[in-house]
């Protein structure tokens, strides 16, 4: 896979001729990115990669090797072995899915490599399984859901209908919502992973006396559900974490998503300089609106480069301290690390709106300020 790595390295260098990153004080770092670039979930991995490459543009000290995990855990493990054993990278990043992260991260940190998570935050890695070398630049899986529960309490939502696929991330998300939500849970439905038809669940929703539907269905599952829900005539309010309403997906749902409330740590209309620059640069570079995955990839590269300016990656303790400072201008605004190396950040409530012909998100408030996950107490490092 040498050819692809070479292309990535060259393109980063070529894009940024004359950029300010060729800083003599900055240490050299070799980064291995394992992400999903082919098959069904490729859209997310491509966004993380593009966001990362945009932020790393022109930095000659940052060498990037990109590999495609095809969303298969066993391939991801083997690529991690390859990047560590053959490419001898210093830092790993890129994984999209919780189950792949669980397969790769513990082994990588055990071999003394830094891992920066640009997506996915399984609870095990935030609590008992935390590591000094593991930094989550995205969110812990429960975060958006805890924020949504808190927001529901304050906005008069009394009875909810919960739905998620029957797998660990789905169960985590529902548990997160229930942790903060104080009203009634009318029904809790677990669907088949990869399910495409939600007629049966929608019938249950119609029959229930819930006032709000709260669901977590990532990717194509969410698209299917929203389209079918819109055609069903059930008019209960819909809420969920941002994964079913990010920019890559909204285009496929269309008007059916309008009015849906969703929680996210990022939105393209968050008002700060870094974000404005990111959104404009991303559109200029790739000709599409960035998604939250692109934002996470971008922030991951910014964080890494901030640490490179302060410490040598070969000095693990110093580099870890530099990462912990999180001294970079995040596109989300405020960003800091909790002691378990997971973010402390505002979680916003967004609403799906139409801007011209484009269906997109708009921030309507902060659902949970300075949100921090609950697993940190179990983390001993």
């Amino acid at each position: 896979m040498k050819i692809k790595s070479l292309i990535a390295a060259v393109s980063i260098a070529a894009l940024g001729s004359g950029a300010a990153w060729a800083d003599a004080h900055s240490s050299k770092v070799k980064v291995g990115m394992i992400t999903t670039l082919s098959g069904g979930g490729a859209g997310l991995g491509i966004d993380v990669r593009d966001g990362f490459m945009l932020a790393a543009k022109g930095n000659e000290n940052l060498e990037l090797v990109i590999e495609d995990d095809q969303r298969k855990p066993d391939i991801a493990v083997q690529l991690a072995d390859k990047l560590i054993q053959s490419e001898k990278v210093d830092v790993l990043t890129g994984i999209i899915w919780s189950n792949l992260a669980m397969a790769v991260v513990p082994a990588a940190t055990a071999q003394g490599k830094f891992y920066l998570s640009p997506n996915a935050g399984p609870s095990a890695l935030a609590g008992k399984g935390c590591s000094p070398l593991y930094f989550n630049v995205a969110w812990q899986n429960d975060a958006f859901n805890e924020a949504a529960g808190a927001w529901a309490n304050e906005n008069g939502i009394k009875k909810v209908f919960l739905m998620a696929p029957n797998y660990p991330a789905g169960q985590d998300m529902i548990a997160g919502f229930k942790r903060t939500y104080k009203g009634d849970v009318v029904e809790e439905v677990y669907t088949k992973l990869g399910q495409t038809d939600y007629a049966a669940e929608i019938a249950q929703m119609r029959a229930s006396d819930a006032d709000t539907i709260y669901f977590f269905l990532p990717g194509g599952m969410g698209i299917s559900f929203m389209k079918q829900y819109a055609g069903s005539g059930v008019d209960k309010a819909v809420m969920g974490p941002a994964f079913s309403f990010d920019q890559g997906i909204l285009g496929a749902i269309g008007d059916a998503a309008l009015g849906v409330k969703n929680t996210s740590h990022w939105s393209k209309d968050i008002d700060n300089e870094a974000n404005k620059k990111f959104v404009a640069d991303f559109q200029a570079e790739y000709g599409r609106l960035p998604s939250l995955y692109a934002a996470q990839g971008y922030d991951t590269a910014l964080l890494l480069q901030s640490a490179m300016g302060k410490a040598d990656v070969k000095d693990a303790a110093a580099f870890q301290a530099a990462l912990e400072e999180a001294d970079f201008a995040s596109v989300r605004g405020k960003f800091a690390f909790a002691p378990n190396h997971h973010p402390i950040q505002d979680i916003f409530m967004r609403e799906v709106v139409k801007e011209g012909d484009v269906v997109t998100n708009k921030v309507i408030g902060v659902a949970s300020p300075d949100h921090q996950d609950v697993y940190g107490a179990e983390c001993k490092m």
């Binding site: 049966a200 019938a203 698209i223």
Partner: protein, 305 residues
Amino acid sequence: MSLILLIEQVLNGIQFGVMLFLMAAGLTLIFGVMGLINLAHGSLYMVGAFAAAAVAGWTGSFALALIAALAAAAAAGALVELLVIRRLYDRDHLDQVLATFALILIFSEGTRYIFGSFPLFLDIPAALSGPVLLPGGILYPLYRLVIIAVGLLVAAGLFVLIAKTRIGIQIRAGEADREMIAALGVDISKLYTLVFALGAALAGLAGALVGAIQSVQVGMGEPVLILAFVVIVIGGIGSIKGALIGALLVGLTDTLGGALLPTLFATFMEPSSANTIGSAVASMAIYILMAGVLLFKPSGLFGAT
């Protein structure tokens, strides 16, 4: 569970079954006539959905989108038959499995190359959106009723085609005795291309109809493909009637299993584990059904023994 909810779930099961029938009919015809296992049938379903989404995007017309789906899937089917499939008729099932598996890879990544990695947008036409009030006070999405109607019409059309028309006679003759029909002067290779294109068109139609209420994305065909295989095996391979009955059985089992089993389990165990175990068993239900049918009828319900 109330009666209204139960009726609604039954309708959902029938709609799912009818959609599966559109897939399974082509698969079972192709197997019955040519003796070919076609794993790439799900790719033709995907081709239909993508063609519909693309044409709907350009023209805004759902009718044109459906025509495009039929045409694109039939064309893709005919092309694949001419280039690849016809070399496989006299091979064993293993070679067919490998070759059509290779076709899946080519179709999936080729589609991603053309349309990109993000799901496409395809919506139901305004005239068919929203729910209608059925007798008994049941609100049901109009579009799903339309799918049921289209599926039943196609089923009726296929029965007529096979029972009454010249092509149908040739198809039946081809199933019974391949050498004889060739000896009688029927252009067998043209017939095979035609049957393959017909099966592909039905898959494309299913893809377009379902694409409007689901996600139009790469890889959407494979889960349906597996279910369609389950259907034709339950029904008996080569039998259109078997495919229809099998499809409805699978549709109803899957839908009602998902809705009823967790509640059923909750009557004798604690709610949280009933939920998990009920969902787990529900997702295995159709495979249990299939294994059960084959135990008592090793060639499916309507298969030739």
